[in-house]
């Protein structure tokens, strides 16, 4: 009931407290500008921010998938005498 009892409970388990998690989540939001949103309300729920973060990571993984796919195709199709091949050589050797 009382807040002191709640905080004792939180510290007795090894888990972090509500305040700490809020603080950490706000830090996380600051470091990722892309998921910073709902500026008007400072109290975006913690679970919402975590969910957004998960989606953001999934999207990045998906992009890396697609780009790997395209890179494979490009490297396969490249003509060794083309300017693109020269670009790769200079990048790899340079």
């Amino acid at each position: 009931m009382s807040s002191s009892r709640r905080s004792r409970q939180a510290s007795s388990s090894s888990r972090i407290s509500d305040d700490q998690i809020t603080d950490l989540i706000s830090k996380l939001r600051q470091s990722i500008p892309e998921i910073r949103q709902n500026r008007r309300s400072n109290t975006v729920s913690a679970s919402k921010v975590l969910q957004e973060t998960c989606n953001y990571i999934r999207n990045l993984n998906k992009e890396a998938d697609d780009l790997s796919d395209r890179l494979t195709q490009l490297l396969e199709s490249i003509d060794p005498n083309s300017p693109q091949a020269a670009v790769i050589r200079s990048l790899i050797n340079g």
Binding site: I16, D18, L24, K27, L28, T53, Y56, E63, L67, R70
Partner: protein, 156 residues
Amino acid sequence: MASADKLINTDVPEKDVFAFHFLQSLSNLRKQNPFDTPDQKNYRVRKIKKAAYVSMARAAGGSSRLWSRALLRRADKDDNKIVRFSRRKWKISSKRRRSNQRAPVVEEAAERLRNLVPGGGGMETSKLMEETAHYIKCLSMQVKVMQCLVDGLSPK
């Protein structure tokens, strides 16, 4: 000297360092496995994807981060196997859920995040947040560099 270098692990990962590692891996892949053989395309896509993630972990300072250490360890283990960056599924046990009456929704969201961040399964929540922030920065950087490569290689 080497240890001093390690300490200078700037928070923002260097694009050049990543690009250097990645291009070297691509060059090695080409030597091992010339790209003009028509078969095993998916295998090569996975190899390239793996090279990207491993290069990202190296660019981030290798073992100085929990996520990069976990990623490199898993990549080592997966060598000679088909590479899949599958995430270990973490079940939230009912016991664990009951022991945490504070905010089960938050805990569930955090568990989902643990599945996405390499090594996240073993992290306490505060560490998870810190590693997640860094992991996302590196991942964005990786995607940007890969996009540049694709753009640069695409026929004009």
